[in-house]
C-alpha cells in the first residue's frame, strides 16, 4: 500500500490526479464552511445580483435568480461524489458475484448469467439509464438506482473473464484436489486475483458515474432543482449562450476537473497494480 502510494506519487500525472481528487473531496466536505454563500444551495433568490458575470464577490458569477455559482458548484460536488460512492458501493459487489459464479461454475449457470449480462450490455449504457428514468420519478435515489442497474454488468463481465481463466490455473486445481469447498475456492482463491482489476476499474468508473449522472440531470431526468447539480446547471445555462457564458462554462469545467482527477488517478493505479484494459 505504502509502496503503491510512493510509485503513484512518483508519476507527475498520477500525483496531479491524486491532488485533484483530494481537493474536490475536501471542498465538497467543507462546502458549508468555505462556500461564500452557504444558503445558495437551495431555493433562494437575490434578484439584485441576478445574472452577474464573474467578479471578486462572485468568482464564477451568479445565476438567473442571483445565486452564487461557485457556492452551488461546491454543493453540487457533494451530490456527485455521494452518488458516485453509493453506485460504486452497490454495483461492483453484485457484478463481481455474478461474474464469479458464471466464470467458476461454468455450464448452464455460465450460459444463462452471461446471456443476461449480454442483454444489459447490448443497450447503450446511457440509453438504459434514460429509459429507466423515463418511467421512474426523477429523484436522486432513482438516479442512483438507474445508474446501478446499468453498471453492474460491466463488473460481471470483467470478473467473469478473469475467473474463467483462473479456473484452469494450478492453484485452483490444487485447491480442488485437496477438497476445498466451492465457496472457499471462489471467494478465497479466485476473488483476490480479481481485486486489482476491480479496484482500478472502480477508480476509473468514479469519473464515468459522475459523467452519466450529470448527463441524466442535464436531460432533466436526474436530481431536481433546487438541489444544485452540475448537469442541470449546464442545461439551464445553455439557453443563455453566448452572453451568460459563465452559467454553463464553470459547472462544465467543474465536471471536467473532478472526472479528470479520477481518470489520472485510475490510470496511474492501473500501472501500479499492473492491470490491463
Amino acid at each position: 500500500m505504502i509502496r503503491a502510494f510512493r510509485i503513484l506519487s512518483g508519476n507527475p500525472l498520477s500525483l496531479l490526479g491524486l491532488c485533484l481528487v483530494a481537493l474536490v473531496v475536501l471542498v465538497a466536505l467543507l462546502a458549508p464552511w468555505i462556500a461564500p454563500f452557504p444558503t445558495h444551495n437551495g431555493a433562494v433568490v437575490d434578484f439584485a445580483f441576478a445574472n452577474q458575470e464573474p467578479s471578486p464577490r462572485n468568482w464564477m458569477g451568479t445565476d438567473l435568480v442571483g445565486r452564487d455559482i461557485f457556492s452551488r458548484v461546491l454543493y453540487a460536488y457533494q451530490v456527485s461524489l455521494f452518488l458516485g460512492l453509493v453506485v460504486l458501493a452497490i454495483a461492483p459487489p453484485i457484478g463481481a458475484m455474478i461474474g464469479l459464479l458464471a466464470g467458476y461454475m461454468g455450464g448452464w449457470t455460465e450460459s444463462v448469467l452471461m446471456r443476461i449480462v449480454d442483454v444489459f450490455l447490448s443497450i447503450p449504457p446511457l440509453v438504459l439509464a434514460i429509459a429507466m428514468m423515463g418511467v421512474l420519478e426523477p429523484t436522486l435515489t432513482n438516479a442512483m438506482l438507474a445508474v446501478t442497474v446499468m453498471w453492474w454488468p460491466w463488473y460481471a463481465r470483467l470478473v467473469y473473464s478473469i475467473a474463467r481463466s483462473e479456473r484452469e490455473e494450478g492453484y485452483v486445481l490444487a485447491a480442488e484436489v485437496i477438497g476445498a469447498s466451492t465457496v472457499h475456492i471462489a471467494f478465497r482463491e479466485i476473488l483476490p486475483n480479481c481485486l486489482p482489476a476491480i479496484i482500478t476499474k472502480m477508480t476509473l468508473d468514479m469519473g464515468f458515474v459522475i459523467i452519466i449522472a450529470s448527463s441524466l440531470s442535464f436531460l432533466g431526468l436526474g436530481v431536481q432543482p433546487p438541489t444544485p447539480d452540475l448537469g442541470s446547471m449546464v442545461a439551464e445555462g445553455a439557453r443563455y449562450l453566448p452572453d451568460s457564458w459563465w452559467l454553463t462554462v464553470f459547472p462544465g469545467l467543474a465536471i471536467l476537473v473532478v472526472v479528470f482527477g479520477f481518470n489520472l488517478l485510475g490510470d496511474g493505479l492501473r500501472e501500479v497494480l499492473g492491470v490491463n484494459q
Binding site: L13, R115, I116, D118, V119, F120, S122, I123, P124, P125, L126, V127, L128, I130, A131, M132, M133, G134, V135, L136, G207, I211, I212, S214, S215, F218, L219, G220, L221, G231, V234, A235, A238, L241, P242, W245, T248, V249, G252, L253, I255, L256, V259, F260, N263, L264, D267, N276, Q277
Partner: protein, 343 residues
C-alpha cells in the same frame, strides 16, 4: 463446404436474436413492473377513471404479464410499436422520421473517431515513453473526462459564437428545400444535385459530430496504443527488424493490422456510447433526431414511444456489432480460415 465467415454470421445472428428477445423482455419489464399504473401515468392526473380504463383495455393491461408480453412481441414482430401519445402518430412512423438524422450524426462521428483515434494511438505507441506519448495520453485523458454535452457547449461557444465558422444549431438552413429520399441530408442534397445545400448540411454536421466523437477519439487512441505496444513486443516484430524493414513500414505493415483487430471490438462499444451520448449532443445543437424525440417522449411518460425508441437503438447497436464482428473475421485470418469459428 460452408465458409467460416458465413457460419460466424449465422452464429452471431442467432445470438443476436436471443439477446434481442432478452432486450424486449427487459424493456417490457421496465415499462410494466415499475410501480404505478402505466395508463394513469400516460394520461396524467387529470384523466377520468373511464379514460384510464379504456386505455388499460387497449394496452391489454388487465391481462397477465405473460399475455401482455405476448401481445407486445406479436405487435413488434408485425412492426407495430403502438401509438405515441405525444405525437398522436404510430411510433414506427416517428422513428422512421427521426432515426436517419441520428444515424447520420453518429456515423459521421464514428468516422471522425476512427480517423483521429487510430493515428493518435499509433503515434503514441511508436514514441512510447517520449513526449509525443505523454501528449497523447494527456489529450485522451482530457477528452474522456467530460460528458459530451460539455464538449458540445464548449465547441459551440468557440466555433459558432466567438469564431462564427459553423452554424449554431439544426441540420440545414431553412432556405433549402430538399426532397427526402434516404433521410441522410448529406446524401439527399447530393442526390438532388444541390452542392450548396450539401455544403450547408455538412457544415451543420461538423460541430455536433466532433462533440460526439471527442471522448470516442480518446478511447480509440488509448486502446490502439495499448495494443500496438503489446504487438511491438511480439517475436514477429523483432523478426521484421532483423530483416531490416524500415520502422515506418514495420509500424504500417507488421504492427498495425494485428493491433487493429482488438481495437475494433472497442470501437463497436464506443459506437454504443455514441448512440447514448447523441441524446446529449442533440439537445445542445437542437438536432432533430431520435434522441431528441426520445427525451421528449420520456418527459411525457409516453410508454409506447419510449419502448420503441430503446428497442430501435438496441437493434441498431446489435447490427453495428455484427458488422464489427464480420470485419474482424475478415481481417483476422485465424477466424477466416479456422474450421471452428469461435466467439
Amino acid at each position: 463446404m460452408q465458409s467460416p465467415v458465413l457460419r460466424l454470421l449465422m452464429r452471431r445472428l442467432g445470438i443476436s436474436l436471443i439477446v434481442l428477445i432478452g432486450v424486449s423482455m427487459l424493456i417490457f419489464s421496465i415499462a410494466r413492473v415499475i410501480p404505478g399504473d402505466p395508463a394513469r401515468i400516460a394520461l396524467g392526473p387529470n384523466a377520468t377513471t373511464e379514460q384510464v380504463a379504456n386505455l388499460r383495455a387497449e394496452m391489454h393491461l388487465d391481462d397477465s404479464l405473460v399475455v401482455q408480453y405476448g401481445h407486445f412481441v406479436a405487435d413488434v414482430a408485425r412492426g407495430d410499436l403502438g401509438m405515441s401519445l405525444y405525437t398522436n402518430r404510430p411510433v414506427t412512423l416517428d422513428i422512421a422520421q427521426f432515426l436517419p438524422a441520428t444515424l447520420e450524426l453518429v456515423l459521421f462521428a464514428g468516422v471522425i473517431m476512427v480517423a483521429c483515434g487510430l493515428p493518435l494511438g499509433i503515434l503514441a505507441a511508436r514514441h512510447k515513453g517520449r513526449w509525443q506519448d505523454n501528449l497523447v495520453r494527456l489529450f485522451t485523458l482530457l477528452t474522456v473526462s467530460a460528458p459530451s454535452f460539455v464538449w458540445a457547449v464548449i465547441l459551440m461557444l468557440l466555433f459558432a459564437f466567438y469564431l462564427p465558422l459553423f452554424p449554431i444549431a439544426g441540420r440545414i438552413s431553412d432556405i433549402y428545400e430538399i426532397e427526402r429520399v434516404t433521410g441522410f441530408l448529406t446524401i439527399d442534397t447530393l442526390l438532388s444535385g444541390n452542392l450548396l445545400a450539401f455544403g450547408n448540411a455538412l457544415s451543420h454536421l461538423v460541430l455536433p459530430a466532433c462533440a460526439l466523437a471527442l471522448s470516442g477519439i480518446g478511447q480509440a487512441a488509448r486502446l490502439t496504443r495499448a495494443n500496438m505496444v503489446e504487438t511491438y513486443d511480439r517475436p514477429y516484430i523483432e523478426m521484421a527488424q532483423a530483416y531490416g524493414f524500415f520502422p515506418s513500414r514495420i509500424a504500417r505493415m507488421y504492427a498495425f493490422k494485428p493491433s487493429l483487430i482488438p481495437s475494433l471490438t472497442i470501437i463497436g462499444l464506443d459506437f454504443a456510447a455514441m448512440l447514448g451520448n447523441a441524446f446529449l449532443v442533440e439537445a445542445v445543437f437542437a438536432w432533430p433526431g431520435l434522441s431528441r424525440y426520445g427525451v421528449a417522449v420520456i418527459l411525457r411518460k409516453d410508454l409506447n414511444a419510449i419502448m420503441g425508441t430503446v428497442l430501435v437503438i438496441a437493434l441498431t447497436f446489435l447490427i453495428v456489432n455484427i458488422i464489427v464482428d464480420l470485419l474482424i473475421a475478415f481481417l483476422n485470418p485465424r477466424i477466416r480460415h479456422s474450421t471452428r469459428a469461435s466467439l
